[in-house]
Amino acid sequence: MALPVYADPLERVWYYSYRVICALIFIFLISPILIIMPLSFNAEPYFTFTPEMLRFDPAGYSTRWYDNLMTFGMTAPDAVRDGSWWADFWQNARWMQAAKNSIIVGFFSTIVATVLGTIAALGLSRPEMPYRKLIMAVLISPMIVPIIITATGLFFFYSDVGLSGTYFGLVMAHATLGIPFVIITVTATLMGFDRSLLRASANLGAGPATTFFKVQLPLITPGVVSGALFAFVTSFDEVVVVLFIGSHEQQTIPRQMWNGIREQISPSILAVATILVIFSICLLTVVELLRRRSERLRGLSPS
């Protein structure tokens, strides 16, 4: 969208001011995420840049909040940092427990959502699928229905059937929330899938199972993996359902953060936030690489 040669002065002014407006909006989008990173290294318990930090004085920076984060909940946080200290950290540190819970719940709910979601997407993308729109609407609805309604419904339902406070119940709930993302990404990938490959494979003597695993699955894997990542992030970031149906022991990272923010927000929260931002940068990179791979596989050059 280069500036055309016939542009009049007003258009030239608008052209550059438009760029400036866009730059400001990009700053609005990205700065809240970047600003917490340096702040998490603040030596003082404040949420703003101290004069020392602005002068890039090393005294203004410290890793005390990260240290705080690691030792929170440990039985002997001040002991020498040897093997037993690390064992204590692994066993008792509050955030470590939360991370373990988050990863366990996230992992299993991702598996459930991805397997069921991919199979369903295979059915939904077939041209002969009956009631396609209606079923699709039901399967996507966990993404649309406000989370508080889902949490309220699960709270009553789980206390009736005795699933509240169980890992099984939590995994099921998080899988439900992740399913729409798997369905959306996998059906989008299947839309570009050349169905004549299936007939070619059958023609060469492969059964339906062989065709699926040897022909279809390798081609749709990028979509499946990015759907799985979406499902994992959904579970990893979910706090309302955990608050409603989780037992006291089931502290996940977001729940621990939620408690931290509500009680007394300390810069330790910023340390967690920084770690999570780095985590999401990694995820974004993986998804982006997968998307490119998928476009290459489907023969769509990045036009």
Binding site: Y18, V145, P146
Partner: protein
């Protein structure tokens, strides 16, 4: 030939002799069933973990057993004497119920249920329940001796409406109607119409947030769609990174930025724009909710807009210019109409997500920046008026489903894309 002995006709047949039409119908039915079977496991899963729990919650909004399950005799009396003033028989039934529910520790529940409609009566039930077993006939005098509030007509009206097994009272409460002395519903006083105010605020804030998202998202989407792909995909990262970042992280950052002693205020003070005492209050009010939610929902506006704008051929705009249109006319008459479907998709998506938002308003909203979701959570966790929470949730769900239907009509659910 296998069909040599069959009567020769003009009907097309398959190799094994079936009419081609029925064989095709059979094959396509089989294919349909096979496709459906692939979806069945997930459908059952979603029914079990999502549709049934929500349906059950909806039924709870009309559920009325808190009072009626322990107060049986008075329920019978209400059934037998519609529209009658409470007589001695009614008071006798009430006394028997009080004895029964006090003995079974259900008096608190029953009192709580009546308390929703006639505030301050829970203690009337519990204290009378403790003494009820010593009551003797005539019960009317005996109960009024205990507490003359028992003669209040609004109390009896509330008990009458609580004695059925189902009720719409919670919906009446959710639209700010309360029971009066004649047992009729009337609008609550001007300053206690909290729920309609809250619904109104939720929708108003959602409109503002969606509008802001459109205002900020449109230029960005347009820029991304028109830049060369290399630059666009670099800039796209700036949109996708917030999208992938944890919601709590983004909310926390806004709390850090917007605080009275936070980064934005400090910058403004050091630049001399505001004075030390005049620090802006941007958090724990509507401003905080609007800023943080606009930031959080912005990618949901940009992505659908971008995918529509990418398909608009630039030659149309050039054609308009060469025919003598000014750049503003070109934008208004040529470009904008082609982006309407993207605006619709992004707008409805943002609005749906904004209406049901919970976490961000709860953390940065303070008193006047909270939404209907926060009130539902309050009734679930603090006031424990679960039926009212369910009624509010049902109303919220209904409005979301209408929007979802509109989204489906406008965009089609299968066209929803992520990233």
């Amino acid at each position: 030939m296998a069909n040599a002995d069959m009567p020769a006709d003009t009907m097309l047949r398959t190799a094994d002799g079936q009419p081609l039409k029925s064989a095709l119908a059979k094959a396509s039915r089989k294919a349909r069933i096979r496709a459906f079977l692939l979806v069945v496991p997930l459908l059952i899963f979603v029914l079990l973990t999502f549709v049934i729990p929500i349906g059950q919650m909806l039924s709870r909004s009309v559920n009325n057993d808190q009072f009626s399950e322990s107060m049986i005799n008075i329920g019978v009396w209400f059934d037998e004497n519609p529209n009658a003033e409470p007589d001695e028989a009614a008071y006798a039934a009430l006394a028997a119920d009080l004895v029964y529910s006090a003995a079974n520790r259900m008096i608190g529940n029953a009192g709580t249920r009546i308390n929703y409609e006639v505030p301050g009566t829970r203690s009337l039930f519990t204290s009378s329940g403790r003494k009820a077993k010593n009551l003797k006939a005539p019960f009317k005098e005996a109960l009024l001796e205990l507490d003359e509030d028992w003669a209040r007509p609004d109390l009896w009206a509330a008990m009458r409406s609580a004695s059925g097994t189902t009720t719409f009272n919670f919906y009446q409460a959710a639209v700010d109607r309360k029971i009066n002395a004649d047992g009729q519903f009337e609008r609550a006083d001007e300053n206690s119409r909290i729920y309609m105010t809250l619904f109104g605020r939720t929708f108003a804030l959602s409109v503002v947030i969606t509008g802001l998202c459109l205002l900020l998202g449109f230029p960005i989407a347009h820029l991304l769609a028109t830049l060369p792909l290399r630059k666009a995909s670099l800039l796209m990262i700036l949109v996708l990174l917030p999208f992938w970042t944890s919601l709590l992280v983004r909310t926390t950052s806004w709390m850090v930025l917007l605080q009275g002693q936070g980064v934005i205020n400090n910058v403004l003070v050091s630049l001399g724009i505001v004075t030390e005492d005049g620090r802006l209050e941007m958090m724990y009010n509507q401003t905080g909710t609007i800023i943080a939610m606009t930031h959080i929902l912005l990618p949901f506006m940009i992505l659908p807009l971008y995918s529509v704008m990418k398909t608009i051929p630039p030659s149309y705009a050039r054609a308009a210019r060469s025919l003598g249109a000014t750049s503003w006319t070109t934008f208004r008459r040529i470009y904008l109409p082609q982006t309407v479907s993207g605006i619709g998709a992004g707008g409805i998506l943002c609005f749906i997500l904004a209406v049901g938002y919970y976490i961000t308003p709860a953390l940065v909203g303070g008193a006047d920046g909270t939404l209907i979701s926060n009130q539902i959570a309050f009734h679930m966790q603090n006031s424990l008026n679960w039926s009212l929470a369910a009624a509010l949730a049902t109303m919220l769900l209904a409005s979301v489903l209408i929007l979802y239907w509109a989204y489906d009509r406008l965009v089609g659910i299968d066209n929803m894309k992520l990233g």
